[in-house]
C-alpha cells in the first residue's frame, strides 16, 4: 500500500486499520467446464479509521458499501485481508469476536426490520448488555437511561413495540441499542437514508451530540453527499468494491482528484436553478462486478480515459494533505500523458435569463 494514512505528522492514532479486505460471493456455475465466477463485492480495500473521527463512505448503489460494513462487523467473514482494531487483529486470540462486538456496533438502514417485532424496545436495547454479562436489572436501567438520552421518555416508550413507533423514533432506538454495549466505533450503514429530511436532521444532530459526549468514532456510510459533507471529517469514495479516493472531507469535496469523484459531486443537484448541467455527469450503470473492466475499473465511463487506463491498474497514490487517489493521471510514470488532458467533464452552464 503506497498511501497509508498513519504516520504523517501528529495525527490521532488509528482505531481500526483495514488491510486488503476482500469478499467475493461465488456464483453458481453457468455450465459444466466453465470456471466458477464470483461477485467481487469488496475487492482489496485498505484504510484507517482514526480515533474520534467521522469517516464517510460514499459511492453508487451496489459498489460494496454495505457488504464492507457487514464484513467490518464480521457478520460475514472476509475471504482475505484483516481488520485490526486498537492494535489487535479481529477474530484473533487477542481480540475474539465477542470482545470485538463490545467495541464496535452497527446501525442498520431499515429501522423496522432491525428491531425484533416481538420484543419491547427496552428489551431490545437491554439485550446486548445482558449478552455481555450485565444483570438484567442493570441492563434495563441502562436501557432506560439511553432511551432518555436519545430523546424518548422511558416512561412513555420503554414498554412499546417497534410497530408502535415512527421511523425516526425507531432509528433512535436502534442508536440506543448500538450504544448500550458502550462501543468505541459505531458503523452507520445508511442509518438516516430512509428518514424524512426533517427527522433526518434531528437524528444527525443527535448523532453529533452523542459522538462528542461519548467520544465515539463513526464510520458513516451514505449515498447522500450533502449529509456526508456536513457530518464527516474524512471521506472514502468507493467504486466497484475498491477505494478510488480518500481524504479530508473538505479536500475531497472542494478539490476532487478522481474523475469518478468529480462526476459524483457534479451529480448532486444544485440549489441554484441557473446552474444547470447539459448532460448527466455519469452515464450508464456501473459495470458488472462479476467481470469488472480491465485496468482501471472506471475507464469505460471515464471522460478522461486514455488507452493506458484499460491496461494498467492504478494504485492508491498519495497526493498530499492526507489525500490519496487511485487514478493513473496522478500516478507518475504510469504512462498517462497529461498533455492530452482536456478537462473532460461537461461544463456547468450558467443560464442567461432572457425575458423574451
Amino acid at each position: 500500500m503506497s498511501a497509508t494514512m498513519a504516520g504523517t505528522g501528529n495525527l490521532p492514532r488509528p482505531l481500526m486499520r483495514v488491510r486488503n479486505l476482500m469478499k467475493h460471493f461465488p456464483l453458481r456455475r453457468r455450465a459444466i467446464g466453465l470456471g466458477r465466477s464470483s461477485v467481487r463485492a469488496v475487492d482489496g480495500i485498505s484504510f484507517d479509521v482514526m480515533k474520534g473521527e467521522t469517516l464517510g463512505v460514499v459511492g453508487e448503489s451496489g459498489c460494496g458499501k454495505s457488504t464492507m460494513a457487514r464484513v467490518l462487523m464480521q457478520l460475514i467473514r472476509q475471504d482475505s485481508g484483516e481488520v485490526v482494531f486498537d492494535g489487535r487483529t479481529v477474530g484473533d486470540r487477542t481480540l475474539p469476536l465477542q470482545a470485538f462486538r463490545r467495541q464496535a456496533q452497527m446501525v442498520f438502514q431499515d429501522s423496522y426490520a432491525s428491531l425484533n417485532p416481538r420484543m419491547t424496545i427496552e428489551d431490545s436495547i437491554a439485550f446486548g448488555p445482558i449478552v455481555h454479562g450485565t444483570t438484567p436489572a442493570k441492563a434495563l436501567d441502562r436501557s432506560h437511561a439511553l432511551l432518555a438520552r436519545v430523546g424518548l421518555a422511558p416512561a412513555r416508550f420503554a414498554g412499546r413495540y417497534p410497530h408502535e413507533l415512527s421511523g425516526g423514533q425507531r432509528q433512535r432506538v436502534n442508536i440506543a441499542r448500538a450504544l448500550a454495549v458502550e462501543p468505541q466505533l459505531v458503523i452507520l450503514d445508511e442509518a438516516v437514508s430512509a428518514l424524512d429530511k426533517s427527522v433526518e436532521a434531528q437524528v444527525l444532530n443527535l448523532l453529533e451530540d452523542l459522538k462528542r459526549e461519548l467520544a465515539l468514532t463513526y464510520l458513516f456510510i451514505s449515498h447522500d453527499l450533502n449529509v456526508v459533507r456536513y457530518l464527516c471529517d474524512r471521506v472514502i469514495v468507493m467504486y466497484l468494491g475498491q477505494v478510488v479516493e480518500i481524504g479530508p472531507a473538505a479536500e475531497v469535496f472542494d478539490s476532487p482528484r478522481h474523475p469518478y469523484t468529480k462526476a459524483l459531486l457534479r451529480s448532486v443537484p444544485s440549489g441554484d436553478p441557473l446552474r444547470r448541467l447539459d448532460a448527466p455527469p455519469l452515464s450508464g450503470d456501473p459495470p458488472n462486478p462479476i467481470e469488472p473492466p480491465s485496468g482501471c475499473r472506471f475507464h469505460p465511463r471515464c471522460v478522461v480515459a486514455q488507452p493506458v487506463c484499460s491496461r494498467a491498474v492504478p494504485s492508491l497514490t498519495d497526493c498530499g494533505d492526507r489525500h490519496a487517489v487511485a487514478c493513473l493521471r496522478w500516478q507518475s510514470g504510469s504512462g498517462y500523458s497529461p498533455a492530452s488532458d482536456i478537462g473532460g467533464l461537461p461544463p456547468i452552464r450558467t443560464v442567461e435569463v432572457s425575458h423574451a
Binding site: 457478520l75 442498520f108 423496522y112 432491525s114 416481538r118 446486548g128 414498554g159 412499546r160 454495549v181
Partner: protein, 305 residues
Amino acid sequence: MTSVSAVSQPHGDAGLLPRLDAMAVRSPSHRARVMRRLARDPIAMMASAIILALIVAAICAPWLMPADPFATSMLKRLRPVGTPGYLLGSDELGRDMLSRLMLGGRLSLFMGIAPVVMAFVIGSAIGILAGYAGGRINMLIMRCIDVFYAFPSVLLAIALSGALGAGITNALISLTAVFVPQIARVAESVTTQARRSDYVEAARASGASATIIVWQHVLRNVTGPIFVYATSLISVSMILASGLSFLGLGVKPPEPEWGLMLNSLRAAIYGQPIVAALPGVLIFLTSISFNLLADSLRMAMEVKQ
C-alpha cells in the same frame, strides 16, 4: 391499553395528562393483543365454543352419557333419531348413538390433537435447527424430510400403521411421522426468513451466541406461524385417524370412535341415513372448527405496522 404504575393518582383521572414520570405506558404483549383480537372475532369465538363443547362432552362422557354405550339390543337396532330413550337413535347393534358419540369423541379428539402436538414439538425442533444452521446441514436435513414428504400423507399413514400393526399407539406414531415433515418444512422456511432478518443480524452484532439468538429472537417470531399451521393439521389428523380406524388399523371394536362408527354404520346408510351420517357430521364439525380457528389465529397474529 395502558396501565398506570404503582404511583397512586388521588383523583383517579390518570388519563388526563398526568405527569409523565407517574405514568408508564405499557403496550399489551403480543399474546394479549392476539387474544383480544380473537375475542372480537365472531367466527373464532363460535369455532372455539364448538371445540370446547365437544371436548367437555368427551371428557365428561362417563358421567353425562344417558345409556351404556356397550349395551347391545338386537330388538332395538337402527332406531331413528328422536326415539324415546335413544335421542340420536341406535346403531346396528342397538347401542345408544348419543352415548357412543360422546365416548367416541375422547379417542377421536385425542387422535386429532395428540399427533399434531407431538409433531409440532419434533417438527419445529428439526425445522428450526435446519433453518438456523443453513447451508449444508439445512440441505441434508431437508432432503431427508423431502423423502417423507414425497408420499401422499394418507398412503404414508396407512403404510406405517400397516407395518407397525393395528392399535392406538401405532396409529399415533404413524400420524406423528406423517406430520413431522410438514411442520418441519414450515418451521424451516420461517426460520430461514428470520435468520436473514436485520434484527437477527443486529443480535449477532451484539455478540450473542447462536443458542441465545434462537432462544430469544428466532423462537418468538417463528412459533406463531408454525402454531397456526399445526392447528390446521388437527382436522387432517382427525380425518386420517378416522380413516385408519375405518380400515381397521386404528381403534378396535367395540371401542367407540367416530371413524370406526362411520365404517360400521355404512351398511345402514339406506335404512337410517341420518343416524349413519352422525359420526361424519361430528368429524366435519370438529375439522371445520379447527380450520376456522387456525384461520382466525393467523389473521389475529398479523402485526400491522
